[in-house]
């Protein structure tokens, strides 16, 4: 009799021990701990900085939320870092904020089926792994309208990071905007082959200035292009973080991101039990202007530099469908068309020909999200190197 009791006790302990060994699944309505993994330093004033700004907004907003973040995590370290966050820090949710973390996050999601994961800018999902992205292409299009209207030399510039679909998409949207406001303008491109490299950005910008460009947009995680263009009295469009203060005279507008809109939505749903570690297979945020995940401007709440409002109102565009319209009104119109629920305009609506003359988007069609995130071609008007051009 005693032996049997002992056996049952041991079995019970093993069972309980086994249940406890797995990471406990989150109970909705209880305090939530979220771990953020950044690929760069929060001081980069670019990509990682923006995610951290969002994180701080969340902490102030949700009393039930605690966060922990790890910065400058190399791509190969995603797995071990997640291990620490799950095992040592007991995070319920892990957010990995760079494409390069995809494999590591995916493996970790399979390893820890009770932990919730979300991966930014990736495409692999699991029952406990969602994906999310806030994309700028609409904003770049609007910036392009302004650049095209304001350029005096007819040459607009774009300093690109890496020739990957994400940057190409933004570049093409910018170019489409430029050509819509100024059908003869050229968009000159240079690649710096880095996400963060102020010296390279500086030299690329100087090279483009030497070619006669007088309006600048870019993808690089520092305000270098804004500063360099401003020093030569040339206009620019900020990227990612508020860079107006780096050149108040010459920074006309830009792209701003609000990751907190996505995070608020996602984490609230986790807290409410709507999203669990079992139903994320099809959760993919592709949030744009309409959801408020991105904003036009070089400073929050300032879509256009006040010093340029009059110039934009004075610049008249002979528009194929809207007639004679000031650049300012054109930007307003498009902003509303894309920002209001029930989007009625997309920069990539057909017909669109690439710069080799091929029809990429037929008339009356819009580009699907899938084709947007894999696009490699260059639109007409783009001048310069285009690695990987199909």
């Amino acid at each position: 009799m005693k032996r049997k009791a002992l056996l049952i006790a041991v079995l019970a302990m093993v069972l309980v021990g086994g249940l406890m060994a797995t990471a406990a699944e989150y109970v909705p309505g209880t305090p939530l701990k979220v771990g953020f993994i950044y690929v760069g330093p929060v001081g980069d004033y670019g990509w990682s900085h923006a995610h951290d700004v969002a994180r701080q907004i969340l902490v102030n907003e949700f009393p039930w939320l605690t966060t922990v973040y790890v910065e400058s995590v190399p791509e190969g370290d995603a797995g071990p870092t997640i291990d620490k966050l799950v095992n040592d820090e007991h995070c319920n949710v892990i957010l990995t904020t760079s494409f390069g973390f995809m494999d590591g996050t995916d493996e970790a999601a399979l390893k820890y089926p009770d932990v919730i994961f979300a991966h930014c800018s990736g495409f692999k999902r699991e029952p406990n792994l969602a994906t999310y992205m806030a994309d700028f292409y609409q904003i770049y299009y609007l910036n392009g309208l302004m650049a095209g209207a304001l350029t005096k030399t007819g040459k607009v510039a774009y300093v690109g990071a890496f020739p990957i679909p994400e940057v190409k998409r933004h570049l093409d949207a910018f170019a489409i905007g430029v050509r819509e406001a100024n059908p003869n303008a050229e968009i000159h491109v240079r690649w710096i082959e880095d996400w963060f490299n102020p010296a390279a950005a500086k030299e690329a910008t100087e090279a483009l200035i030497a070619e006669g460009c007088d309006a600048f947009a870019f993808t690089e995680d520092s305000p270098t292009v804004v500063q360099v263009a401003g020093e030569s009295g040339l206009i620019s469009f900020a990227h990612y973080s508020p860079m107006y203060k780096f050149s108040p005279e010459y920074c006309v507008s830009g792209e701003l991101v609000h990751w907190e809109t996505i995070y608020e939505d996602f984490l609230q749903k986790v807290y409410d039990g709507v999203y669990t570690a079992h139903n994320l297979q099809n959760v993919d945020y592709w949030w744009l202007l309409e959801q408020g995940a991105v904003e036009m401007g070089a400073e929050t709440g300032m879509p256009i530099n006040p010093a340029y409002v009059d110039k934009l109102k004075a610049a008249v565009v002979d528009h194929p469908t809207l007639g004679k319209i000031s650049a300012y009104d054109l930007v307003e119109t498009r902003l509303n068309q894309m920002g209001d629920p029930g989007i009625t305009f997309d920069p990539f609506q057909g017909p669109i020909y690439d710069r080799k003359g091929n029809l990429q988007v037929p008339e009356g069609m819009w580009m699907s999200v899938d084709s947007l995130i894999t696009m490699e071609w260059a639109v007409q008007g783009v001048v310069g190197p285009w690695p990987g051009e199909p």
């Binding site: 102020p198 390279a200 090279a207």
Partner: protein, 309 residues
């Protein structure tokens, strides 16, 4: 745009990007000529960049920033000098450790200075008269800061000192054969200390140029490996300030061109161009008899102790 604009922009960018390279190289030339290899330049540059930015931001005076940066670079180099000259530690490792320390320290201290624009940066000047000369005028004399020209002036001064004065002979003797120099009454330790400090000061000023003029802001890691290029350029210059000027501006020009030429050649391969060029030029030059006269100081990296062979 015609070939004139190519020349002008290339000259102009060569001066702009080449100045911090040149400052660092001049300093390292002196240090190495006295026999001390200083691989800690990157750390000194970035501490210089940081301290210059903070000084200029808080006081509104960029030239004060330059001075502070020089002092900071010099102070850092004293650590290296102490370790390698007095304590006779391995120079390679000491330099690497200093680089690690400098970058880490600047990163930690600089955290709250990121993303702040600097409006009291070094002003750009245009030299009247000279800048009107066709092509060369706008290429060399327009839109650079005073620091660029000061650096250019330093070159013949430092060259002259090194090759035509007693001080220079002393420095070179200490670097070639410290034992003999010692026996002739030269204070080897003092000479080496001074040269290393000169190297540190100039490295700090190079960093100041980066954060006060080239790109007026502070970002972590903003020197981006420039210290290593300086190490290479020192060798490339055959430890001679005049060739240091040539090498620095040439490298900077190639760096700029690698962006202009992107339309015709793949960007990644173009980025490798300045580095490949450096090796190719070395090969060409060394096939002649030149290299026999231009080797490294014989006692480079070797600590000196009296009474020891």
């Amino acid at each position: 745009m015609g070939w004139e604009s190519w020349f002008i922009s290339t000259f102009s960018r060569a001066l702009a990007y080449g100045t911090p390279l040149l400052l660092g190289t001049l300093g390292e030339i002196y240090a190495e000529r006295s026999g001390v290899l200083n691989l800690g330049i990157e750390g000194m540059m970035i501490m210089g960049a940081y301290s210059a930015f903070v000084t200029a931001y808080t006081t509104g005076n960029p030239w004060l920033g330059v001075l502070v940066a020089g002092a900071v670079g010099g102070a850092f180099s004293i650590i290296h000098a102490f370790a390698t000259i007095t304590l006779k530690a391995n120079q390679v490792v000491s330099g690497l450790a200093l680089t690690m320390l400098g970058i880490g320290l600047a990163g930690v201290l600089g955290r709250k200075w990121v993303g702040l624009p600097l409006f009291s940066s070094l002003h750009k000047v245009t030299i009247p008269g000279l800048s009107a000369i066709p092509i060369i005028g706008p290429g060399f004399f327009k839109g650079q800061t005073l620091l660029v020209y000061l650096t250019m002036l330093l070159v013949p001064i430092m060259w002259y000192i090194l090759f035509h004065t007693r001080i220079g002979i002393t420095i070179r003797a200490v670097g070639e054969d410290p034992a003999t120099a010692d026996s002739l009454g030269v204070n080897v330790t003092r000479v080496r200390y001074l040269c290393v400090i000169v190297g540190g000061v100039l490295a700090g000023v190079a960093g100041a140029y980066l954060s006060l003029s080239y790109r007026p802001a502070w970002t972590e890691g903003m020197t981006g490996g420039m210290g290593w290029i300086v190490i290479a350029l020192t060798i490339f210059a055959f430890w001679n300030p005049l060739y240091g000027l040539l090498g620095s501006y040439l490298f900077a020009a190639l760096y700029h061109l690698s962006y202009r030429l992107q339309t015709w050649v793949s960007p990644e391969l173009l980025k490798a161009m300045p580095y490949a060029f450096a090796i190719i030029i070395l090969v060409i030059v060394s096939r002649g008899t030149l290299h026999k006269r231009m080797g490294a100081p014989a006692a480079l990296t070797l600590p000196y102790t009296r009474g020891e062979q």
